[in-house]
Every structure is written in structure tokens, then in C-alpha cells.
Symmetry: C2
Subunit: 347 residues, 2 copies
């Protein structure tokens, strides 16, 4: 039912998506009244849901009380095979919890991850986890590397993604035990991507690697720090270029170029953060995304659904198992929703 702006934005995005993709069809899940505009559309079907998960709803409420929420019904469509992917601009924690409960973790994967597509000097990098977890051990970091590489390949088109592990320095002995252990294993295992070792915070915007792997706490803080700084820059540029008649004249003259720049740096341009690691595709749109941003999230879901994303993950996990690391992964992971979600990141 559509994030911060309600169905208005998401429905505009859905309409634009259907126009641009004559081969695709959409299930629109929610209050039939709000979706009535699509009742006659030949490639849209309305799936009624009587409840809505609020942006501030505790996860327990979303999970145990609102069993007919649009979010839950949408994810159920994926589980039942009626849809190939679910897209939501709603409450991240609830989306994660409901997705884990209904879809369960993928075979041999321990923990899900939320991946962010980050504009860089080189293009777009995938950064994960940015908030599904608050702590990650070495094995989980390696899973993130595998999932992130498969995601970048599927959605951003890199042939053989380069992958780096986020750390506070580039030497082997830097960082805490988890990153050093993950580093040692990634260095010594042949996988479908090009592991480049440790990278630092400065490397993210530089685009040093296609995939930046980190735990959900650090990734969430890094992403939000960057978002905050981007807003600060935006405000400063605006203030600067309206600070006097000369600056304003300059800004008017350069306005075309400045607009282009803002578009290039706009996180909404690459909106759509999939929840990786589940048995099914779920894509989180930024709650504040506009129609263009929400359409970009739908496109990410389509790209993932069309790719051999899951097969690629399976193949790499198998190689890990052959090196002896992955044994016993499923034991802990398959239990679905644990109490830990409440500690995860808010959007």
C-alpha cells in the first residue's frame, strides 16, 4: 500500500512499468478501493488484503496480528508461485520478518542480507548487508559476498564481479576476527567472482570493487552516514548558489549541468534493495521513493527474476562446501523468524 506517500506513488510507478514492459503483468495487493483504477487493466490483477502494516508497527504486531496485511499477502503470492517477486515500500523490519517466516531461508544459507545499490565514480556498486543483521560472523560475511556478487551480475550486469571486504585497513592483520577469518577463506576459495581483499570506506564511492561486503551494523551506519552527507551537500550547494546575485546568476546559467549532476548522485536512481538469501525474491523500495524510484525497484525485481541468481548462489555455496567450510549451515538458519529482528535496522 505504498511507503511514505501511500498508493499514489506506487500506482503511478506500476502504470509506467506496465506500459514499458508489455510482456509483464502485475498483482496489486491491498485495499480493492485504493486499487480500483487497475480493475480493468488486462495485465493487472487485484489481490485483496484487508490490513496494512504501519511504518511504526512493532514486528510482533506485523507478524502475529495482521495476518491479512498487504505485505504478507504479497509475499504469500511469491510462496504460492502466483508471483515471481514481491516489491514493498513499507516497514523494513516487518518485511524482513514476514519474508523469513513465509519464504524461509534458501538452502544452505544462514542469514538474509539487504543490499544497497550505491552510485560510485565507476558506476554502481552493491553494498551488503545494510541492515538485516546487527552482527555477522565469518561464514555469514562469505555468504554475503556470494549473494552480492550474484546480485551485481544479475542486476548491474558485471560479467565477473569484483568483491571486497570492508575493513579499517588493507593489510591481512587489520580488523576484528570475523573479517580476518572471512578474508582468509575468500582468498583461498575459487568462486564465480574476483575477490580483491580488504577495502576501506573511501573505496565505496571510488567504486574500487563491484561488491562491498560488511556486517549489517557497519553497512547500515555507512549507508546512512552517506545519505546524511549527501543531503548536507545538497543543502550547501543550494545555499551557496542562492547566496547572492552573482552566485544566483551563475547557478541559473549552469542549471542544466547541475540538474544532471543531482540526477547522477541521486540514490533514488538506483532504488530497490532486495532481501537476499530467501526462497523467493522480495525487493524493498525506499519508503520515501517517488514513482521513478519505485519503478526502479520493480525493475530490480524483474532483473533478479529473469537471472540465474539462485543457481549462481547454489553453485558457489557448493564450492565452499567442497572446501569444508559450509558444513552444517542449514541447522541454525532454517528456523525462520527468531527474536533478533527487533534489533535490526529501521529504514
Amino acid at each position: 500500500m505504498g511507503g511514505d506517500h501511500g498508493p499514489r506513488v506506487t500506482l503511478a510507478a506500476c502504470r509506467a512499468f506496465l506500459e514499458r514492459h508489455p510482456e509483464a503483468s502485475l498483482l496489486l495487493v491491498g485495499a480493492p478501493d485504493a486499487l480500483a483504477g487497475f480493475a480493468a487493466h488486462p495485465r493487472a490483477r487485484i489481490v485483496p488484503a484487508s490490513e496494512v502494516v504501519g511504518m511504526d508497527d512493532p514486528i510482533e504486531i506485523a507478524l502475529r496480528k495482521k495476518k491479512d496485511s498487504s505485505m504478507r499477502v504479497a509475499i504469500q503470492q511469491v510462496k504460492d508461485g502466483a508471483a515471481q517477486a514481491a516489491i514493498s515500500a513499507g516497514n523494513t523490519g516487518a518485511l524482513m520478518a514476514i519474508s523469513k517466516l513465509i519464504l524461509r531461508m534458501g538452502a544452505n544459507l544462514e542469514r538474509p542480507a539487504i543490499v544497497a545499490s550505491w552510485p560510485t565514480m565507476q558506476g554502481v556498486s552493491a553494498v551488503l548487508d545494510v541492515g538485516a543483521n546487527v552482527e555477522s560472523d565469518a561464514k555469514q560475511l562469505i555468504e554475503f559476498a556470494i549473494m552480492g556478487a550474484a546480485f551485481h551480475h544479475a542486476v548491474h550486469g558485471s560479467e565477473r564481479p569484483t568483491v571486497g571486504l570492508l575493513n579499517v585497513g588493507s593489510e591481512d592483520q587489520k580488523g576484528h576476527e570475523e573479517v580476518r577469518e572471512a578474508h582468509a577463506i575468500l582468498k583461498d576459495t575459487k568462486l564465480d567472482f574476483d575477490y580483491r581483499g580488504f577495502v576501506e570506506g573511501t573505496d565505496i564511492a571510488k567504486g574500487t570493487v563491484d561488491v562491498v561486503v560488511t556486517d549489517g551494523f557497519t553497512g547500515n551506519v555507512a549507508l546512512k552516514t552517506a545519505e546524511g552527507l549527501a543531503r548536507f551537500f545538497g543543502a550547501e550547494i543550494k545555499a551557496t548558489l542562492t547566496s547572492g546575485p552573482l552566485a544566483m546568476l551563475g547557478a541559473v546559467i549552469a542549471s542544466g549541468a547541475l540538474k544532471k549532476m543531482r540526477r547522477r548522485l541521486d540514490p533514488g536512481r538506483v532504488n530497490g534493495g532486495p532481501l537476499l538469501g530467501l526462497n523467493g525474491i522480495v525487493v524493498k523500495s525506499h519508503g520515501g521513493a517517488d514513482a521513478l524510484g519505485y519503478a526502479s525497484a520493480i525493475r530490480v525485481a524483474v532483473d533478479l527474476a529473469r537471472s540465474d541468481f539462485s543457481a549462481e548462489i547454489d553453485r558457489n555455496l557448493k564450492r565452499l562446501t567442497e572446501t569444508g567450510l559450509n558444513a552444517g549451515a542449514q541447522e541454525e538458519g532454517a528456523g525462520g523468524v527468531s527474536g533478533a529482528e527487533g534489533q535490526g535496522a529501521s529504514e
Copy 2:
């Protein structure tokens, strides 16, 4: 002997500092030949040191082999009471290790922290730890809060600093155990600052609080992510405003305002990251700082030396002890240098 640019930059900064502060005097530590320009200065004294710690020297070499390094001799001046503070633009890991070995931790403090002065929409916030440690427990986070508040008060002049704990959400149950435990204690202890609870990455640039507290891994990644993004923005602005004749004309007309903006956002403007928690003042300048930046690091050292920084920390630690938390802190901390430094952040 002066960071990436060698003594040229640091000596220019020293000369400017002495001119602007007729009451201050400097000890210049290093190869006498390189410092000869100051031989006749009435308020400068040359302290000879025969060795230099290289930017890439392993900590063991800096610590055990180069016992007559300019870095070590400078810190020894503080220990001996000949200087009130030491300033260095050299190897961060070595500076931290030598400082801990020679000055030791302050009474009842467990771990040192490096603090960054971060330009925000409101002014300047202190963010710590940005790289002295790779992991921090609740007690260490609380120490960082105390030290950061005393620093902000001494150097950035806030009367009663506001302090926030960096997390992935603002609700009490968010985040990992360490931040939740530190949060619970800070909420319930009356200290010389205004604890505002959890803050998120977006709050840093917004300037929501004067002091942002986090572990050294997260803080280092956040700082470097921001530095990388700032460079990306700088490059984009330059590329945008030289992208065509119209944009160039606009840029020329607005150049005064743009220059002012760049100065405001420049991290060098607030250069100077003290190593907090030691028995003595040591300030790390950015290795790549220019003379203006290095002079700013000297000013930070002066502000700290003139303040009641240490007394403020002691007072707050005492209040913590009264609430029962701080008992036994010294046992582990006083041992000086442990093997853990090698895992810390590089600059």
C-alpha cells in the same frame, strides 16, 4: 618530521603558529639539519632525533627498533613535562602504540580513542572512536562518551555537550548488546553532558548531537565512507561545472560562493584528531594536511592543554564509579601496549 609532505608543510605551519601565538613556544623534534631554519627563533627549540617512523613501518619496528624516532622523542617530551602536548602527522598506528607505551592510559580509563572533528549542518561534531580500536564493549563506549564530551567542550566550546550513541535505529531494543548496554547505563547516570540516546548515520552530518559515540571499526568506516563521498562530490561538481561553455560561464560567475562552500565542507578546516584517554595530550594531524590544516592540529593541542579536559573526565568517571559501573577498570588498561594495535585502522 611531517606526514606525507615532509617537514616543509609542518614547518610552515609552526612558523605561522608562533607568529599568531606570541605567548606559546614550540619544541621541534627531528633531524637538526631539516629544522635549522628555527635555530635562531627565540620561542623555538630544536630537540634532535636521529630516526623517523615511516608511514608504512610495522608497529613493532616503530616500537622496538626506532627508539630515537622523532615521534617517540616528541612523546617523551610530554612524558617528561618539557612539552604540554605532542603533534604528529605520521603513522597513526605507530603514534598510538608509542603514546600508550610511554604515556600510559589515564587513571581508570581502559582504552584510548581517536576523535574526529566532523563538519555538520550545525557546526562541528566530535565523532569517536574512529580507529584506535576494532571492538568496544559497553564500558569503553561510555568512556568514549565522557572523553568526547570533554573534548567538544574544550575544543569546540559547547557549554554542555549533547551526546548520542550511534546505532541502526532509535528504539531501545535496536542494535547489538554492547550499544544497548551502554545506552541503558548512560540513560541512568547523571554526567556533565546531555545524553540524547541513539542516533543514526544520517544524524552525523545533520549535527543532531555534539558528540557521536561508536566503536572504532564502525567509526573508521563511517569517517572514510564520508571522506570518499566528499571526494566524489568534489569531482562531480568540478566535472559538472566544466562540462560545457554555459556551465563553465556559470561556474566562473559563481566561483566566489563555490570556493566558500568548499572551504566550509573541507575536513582540513577542522584537522587535528587527538588520541584521547592517555596521560598527556597527543594530536594526530591528517598525513595529507597542508600548512593550514597542520596549524589547526596545533591549535587543537593548545585548546586541550589550556582546558580542564582531564579534570572533567575524572569527575565523570567518578560519578560512574559511584553508580557501581567503573570498578576495576584500571586492572586491564594500565598494561600499556598490547598486541592488538596491529589490527587497528590505518590512516
